[in-house]
Subunit: 338 residues, 2 copies
């Protein structure tokens, strides 16, 4: 038994408060990680806000965790005490279902999200199945590594899964926490990259982040200027957009792919799909090995999120900053339980 200090949401629409919980004995397959940094992802807000259904309060958010292994269960593999690791959206999966055995643990029906029915990383310590505590390459700055583990792999995994090629023209809709990493990954992937943003002020930033051009996602004429061009269009926003015009930016065989959880149904014209053999799809986080592959790629290409840091004790200020749309582009908390 060990008492863990944390920051928790006590209920919907309430500020986070200092919270302690008893962690119980470490499972045989588990790793315990002493938290150093933890990113704040929009999904943390969605759970805190019960946006995806009633959350099991108190919720300890935080699923872009970086720290050092401080304890290992008897069956843990491949990790050493003191090693720097990261934990993302998933802290566990069953490891014996068809999906887990096939290397697609992100589809496991027994998957354990890090912050739903499990204590997340806004805390002194966090636990995960050993396989979901991934070693962080030395070349990646520890403070910046957190956002790669959820946001990063969420935009990277589709490049792997859907056969995006360096010769492709790709678009990224929404230049925020996810989108700004997507621009970097797609540029390093070798693609021609178009950024779509609703904020003119972000256009120059998008170019600096790796886009070859930046277009307004709200301006029909600018959307039309890209008609029929894109092989892959990654949607990182969760707001309603002009989906018809965005779909029309796709080339034959093109795909519009959602990683942002748009809550309203997207009205898709079947004619637009049939004409040009287009696809619309979505994906959650990546597999365990997608994360490892992404970290390796990020290290090789020097890709890191652009972050703003807050001490974890100022978590409510940090959340307010994010909610106000001010984050450029990802907020990271530095653990300061002392």
């Amino acid at each position: 038994m060990s008492t863990v200090r944390a920051w928790a949401s006590p209920g919907k629409d309430q500020a986070l408060v200092a919270h302690q919980y008893e962690a119980g004995p470490l499972g045989a397959d588990e790793a315990e990680i002493t938290v150093e940094h933890c990113g704040i992802c929009h999904s943390d807000l969605s759970v805190i806000d019960s946006e995806w259904g009633p959350a099991p309060y108190p919720v300890v958010p935080g699923h872009e965790v970086v720290g050092r292994v401080s304890a290992l269960g008897a069956n843990a593999h491949g990790l050493q005490i003191g090693q720097r690791v990261g934990v993302g959206w998933l802290a566990g999966s069953c490891m014996h279902c068809l999906q887990c055995l096939g290397g697609e643990q992100q589809f496991c029906r027994q998957q354990q999200p890090t912050i739903i029915g499990h204590h997340g990383g806004f805390a002194e310590k966090v636990r995960s199945h050993w396989a979901w505590a991934l070693p962080i390459p030395d070349a990646i700055d520890a403070a910046a590594a957190g956002p790669l583990l959820c946001g990063g792999v969420t935009v990277f995994s589709p490049l792997l899964s859907f056969g995006v090629k360096p010769t492709h023209r790709v678009g990224v809709v929404g230049i925020g926490g996810l989108g700004h990493m997507a621009l970097k990954f797609c540029r390093a992937w070798g693609c021609e990259v178009t950024a779509f943003t609703s904020s003119d002020s972000k256009k120059d930033e998008a170019l600096a982040l790796g886009a070859h051009r930046a277009l307004s996602s709200r301006d029909k004429a600018q959307l039309k200027s890209a008609a029929g061009q894109l092989d892959f269009l990654l949607v990182t926003v969760n707001a309603d957009m002009d989906w018809g015009s965005l779909l029309s930016t796709l080339a034959p065989n093109g795909r519009m792919h959602f990683v942002g959880m748009v809550m309203n149904p997207v009205g898709v014209s079947v004619g637009r799909l049939i004409n040009g053999q287009r696809s619309v799809s979505g994906s959650p986080t990546g597999s365990r090995n997608d994360i490892a592959t992404m970290l390796d790629f990020a290290a090789r290409h020097g890709i890191a999120p652009q972050i703003e840091r807050f001490p974890m004790s100022r978590v409510n200020d940090a959340i307010a900053h994010l909610r106000e749309g001010k984050a450029r582009y990802r907020v990271v908390l530095d653990a300061d339980f002392a």
Copy 2:
């Protein structure tokens, strides 16, 4: 110059009438085919009815044409006078754009549909670019070959384009002109095949056509019994369905694919796409070589549509039969201009 006798729609909501037109000189790249048989496809009705926009009347429908080559332009390749050939949805494409040069002529922007701005196969003769007059293998019955050229390749092409494997579980929604051929192709492809039909009377027929099981497409409990199972779901209907329940029949990485031109937007839940990395897509007819590959596969596996035959002079009776939903499963006209 030669006068061609045909059956034509003089305008929206009018019966077809006997019609003659001057064909003009044969183009250097064209083949002229003396029509023997021509299937009636739902797309013929859509054009006759101006359902996809105002049709350029008079319309000579018919784009599932089988006949013999009766004349060849100076630049025509690979065809012989007297050879049995077929023409499907497309009678021409530019052959020099990116898509044509890449073997995906069905995406050519200069494509020439057989029945829009061109005289179709409800006629003595029809013309096409030589590449779009495909030799019919001897093993395929000439009268039954027509429906393969449009409906057949439309359901076959996605199996090629989207990597459907013999180990996959596939579903076919709608057991009509397209769907009944899809059942045969998917069964021969080696897949486990589920038929979805709104008509209980078609369930036994679906099993006879190749389905391993037949479920109601209108019964939520039956749809639920297939939840999470299908790798590929081919939608051949053009009516509104319970798209949410159908999408839920997909396994992780599954795809719901439209070949029926559903006119109302399909409301897609992004959550359902993200959860399980699912896709929704569509495709038109296949490429020139998809048709050739399909004909070869059909010949090898003894696949032919189930047809009902009418003399072409009874074209209006045949159309009425199709409109009344009585066709089992494809109507073919036998040319009888005498």
